[in-house]
């Protein structure tokens, strides 16, 4: 991370992009710090690939400035930017061997052959493709092509590696493997990665920081933990992992605790005082499924600050976790989702008909609806 007085590696200020009359990017402000793994997360069509293409120089910004080390690079042509890209469908050169693909960026810079050979071999070893150097892309598996694309991008020692949903085409197992692998490579070569994905789980696994996008805007940037625990908007609260969202109105605020009038009665919720909630504001009180305890109905067990009685509607065993749904007696339509480790007590809860959902106010979070 950079010291406060130094310019960030890349900085977007008020960047916009329009195609004809369609605005695909609005007023985006984003910094990429030297050495970090930044993930841009958003649904398809949210403009995340546009950001990557703007930084990479594939397209020109319609508004705003893009800076590298503090200097504006809006007009710097693509082949002069010290960034390299891993494309979604790899874009490997089909008529060149793995070795020639990886060495391409060095060859066009006119480096001496022995140096190209040495650096190519080193990077191929890094991505464990040393034995495949003489193959053509058509002779490789999806995961291997992926690694060639990565090797080709990092061999030129770029300041920033841009990755455009590079794992989208891989099956689940390979994806997880590649995520770990990518993170390892990034640590080893100490290079900044900007990674685009629509998969929030992938974002959490990889990112030092995540920028969440929605409809052409960056709605929140932060560490995965922050986004998960303290989402800044209903969109982030909903998009980022499973969540219980209870709609209501603020009836009063004291410090960082808001009283929210909901279908389940007045509930206490943690909130960001800087938001300046006032009585009557429409909000969502959020509580993560894994933060809720299920207690037997009627039993004098130590309840937490909030307790909601209800009926167990559905339960499902999902491997290590058991998912339960509780219909509160006060509002049966509002199904509360609860996640438990699949142990004996979860099985016992699942067998019950009525139960109480209980949570601590510290685990709740209030966002504007």
């Amino acid at each position: 991370m950079s010291a406060g007085d130094r310019a960030p590696l890349v900085e977007l200020s008020a960047v916009g992009k329009t195609y004809g009359t369609a605005r695909v990017l609005h007023d985006v402000n984003l910094t990429v710090e030297d050495g970090e793994f930044l993930v841009i997360l958003g649904p398809s069509g949210s403009g995340k690939t546009t950001i990557l293409r703007l930084i990479g120089g594939f397209i020109a910004a319609s508004a705003g400035e893009i800076r590298l080390d503090g200097a504006v690079i809006n007009d710097l042509p693509i082949n002069r930017r010290p960034f390299n890209t891993v494309f979604q469908d790899y874009a490997l050169f089909p008529h060149m061997t793995v070795r020639a693909n990886v060495g391409y960026g060095l060859a066009v810079r006119g480096l001496p052959r022995p140096e190209i050979a040495a650096r190519t071999a080193k990077v191929l070893d890094l991505v464990s493709l040393g034995d495949f150097a003489s193959r053509y892309p058509a002779q490789l598996s999806g995961g291997q092509r992926q690694r060639v694309a990565l090797a080709r991008a990092i061999v030129c020692t770029p300041r920033l590696v841009l990755l455009d949903e590079p794992l989208a085409a891989l099956d689940v197992d390979l994806r997880h493997q590649m995520q770990v692998f990518l993170k390892d490579v990034q640590r080893q070569i100490r290079t900044t990665f900007l990674f685009i994905t629509h998969d929030q789980e992938e974002a959490i696994t990889l990112a030092d920081r995540i920028g969440v996008m929605d409809q052409g805007r960056i709605v929140q940037v932060g560490a995965p933990r922050d986004l998960y625990d303290r989402p800044g908007s209903a969109h982030v609260a909903r998009f980022f992992g499973e969540n219980n969202l209870i709609a209501g109105h603020v009836t009063g605020v004291s410090g960082s605790i808001a009283k929210v009038e909901t279908a389940l009665g007045v509930l206490a919720g943690h909130c960001d005082p800087a938001q300046g909630y006032v009585g009557g504001d429409a909000v969502l009180l959020t509580i993560r499924p894994e933060k809720i305890r299920l207690l037997p109905a009627g039993a004098p067990s130590p309840a937490l600050e909030t307790t909601i009685p209800g009926q167990i509607a559905r339960s499902g065993f999902a491997g290590p976790l058991t998912q339960l749904h509780l219909c509160p007696d006060a509002a049966p339509d509002l199904m509360i989702s609860v996640k438990r480790l699949s142990d004996a007590s979860a099985a016992a809860s699942a067998a019950q008909v009525s139960a109480r959902a209980s949570w601590s106010t510290a685990d709740t979070w209030v966002v504007r609806a």
Partner: protein, 283 residues
């Protein structure tokens, strides 16, 4: 290959058609080349005399090699000129591209004879070309450079066959994913480097098709040389034609035809080798 082609009925239709229209005529041609003529009757006893006669005739062999050279030149020129045109069209979008393509293909639907007559009036001693050159003060008297000789044949065939060079090159250029050029630029390649290392090698199949197409169409043509070549523009195709018409020596004409077919098969084999891109499929 689409699964439909493996069904027996369809397979029979495809191979049957190929057999009836290409293999059988070719075999009958081959047989004819081994016969001989006595008087006005065709003698069906087999002999290689026709081939021996062709090989030992220096005038005929001269025409043979000159024709091959002429057609190779036509293939080379149309492909060299056609490539940048195809590249230009491939880089265009929307209406302009469609318009240009239509313009380029339009001459193909015109009658061949009409096009050749148009050329005759352009190239003649008193034709448009000569008048333009004289008007511009480049020459003083009508030049005979393009009047009834092989130069005229070369020029006319090159112009008429240009679309057959442009189209296959355009098709192969369009098959190259745009992402490849982006990836190369991203890796700091200049436009020229991208052309040299990505576009050109990946369009090799198109180049090979363009070269072989134009060569084969040029070498098989006997009407154009007849119409614009005059007495000095004698080509091998015309020689063959004259054996079937004027000389009424079908066996000898067939032998010359077999010779020409051999050249064409050789060119196709060369094109196949030239058009092979290392690494196989694009994806």
């Amino acid at each position: 290959m689409s699964p439909g082609l493996t069904r027996p009925g369809a397979a029979l239709a495809v191979y049957g058609l190929l057999g009836a229209l290409i293999v059988v005529p070719f075999l009958s041609f081959l047989a004819m080349s081994l016969y001989s003529v006595s008087g006005v009757v065709i003698d069906r006893s087999l002999t290689l005399a026709n081939f021996a006669r062709a090989a030992s005739d220096p005038v005929l062999m001269g025409v043979f090699w000159r024709t091959i050279l002429l057609c190779a030149g036509i293939a080379l020129v149309t492909t060299l000129v056609g490539y940048p045109v195809a590249l230009f069209i491939a880089g265009m979008r929307g209406r302009a591209r469609y318009g240009l393509l239509t313009l380029m293909v339009a001459p193909l639907v015109l009658s061949y004879v009409m096009k050749i007559y148009a050329f005759r009036s352009i190239l003649g001693g008193n034709g448009l070309l000569n008048r333009l050159l004289m008007g511009a003060g480049i020459i003083d008297a009508p030049s005979n450079f393009f009047v009834f000789n092989l130069n005229a044949v070369f020029l006319v065939l090159a112009v008429l066959l240009a679309p057959f060079a442009i189209l296959p090159i355009l098709l192969s250029l369009e098959k190259i994913p745009a992402a490849l050029a982006e990836a190369a630029a991203d890796l700091a390649a200049s436009r020229w480097q991208i052309f040299r290392s990505i576009t050109l090698p990946l369009s090799r199949p198109g180049i090979a098709t363009a070269l072989s197409f134009t060569f084969i169409m040029a070498i098989g043509d006997f009407i154009t040389p007849q119409m614009v070549g005059g007495p000095n523009g004698f080509t091998f195709g015309r020689v063959i034609y004259s054996q079937f018409g004027l000389a009424f020596n079908w066996p000898f004409g067939a032998a010359l035809g077999v010779l020409l077919s051999g050249v064409i098969i050789l060119v196709l084999a060369l094109a196949l080798a030239l058009g092979r891109v290392p690494g196989g499929a694009t994806r």
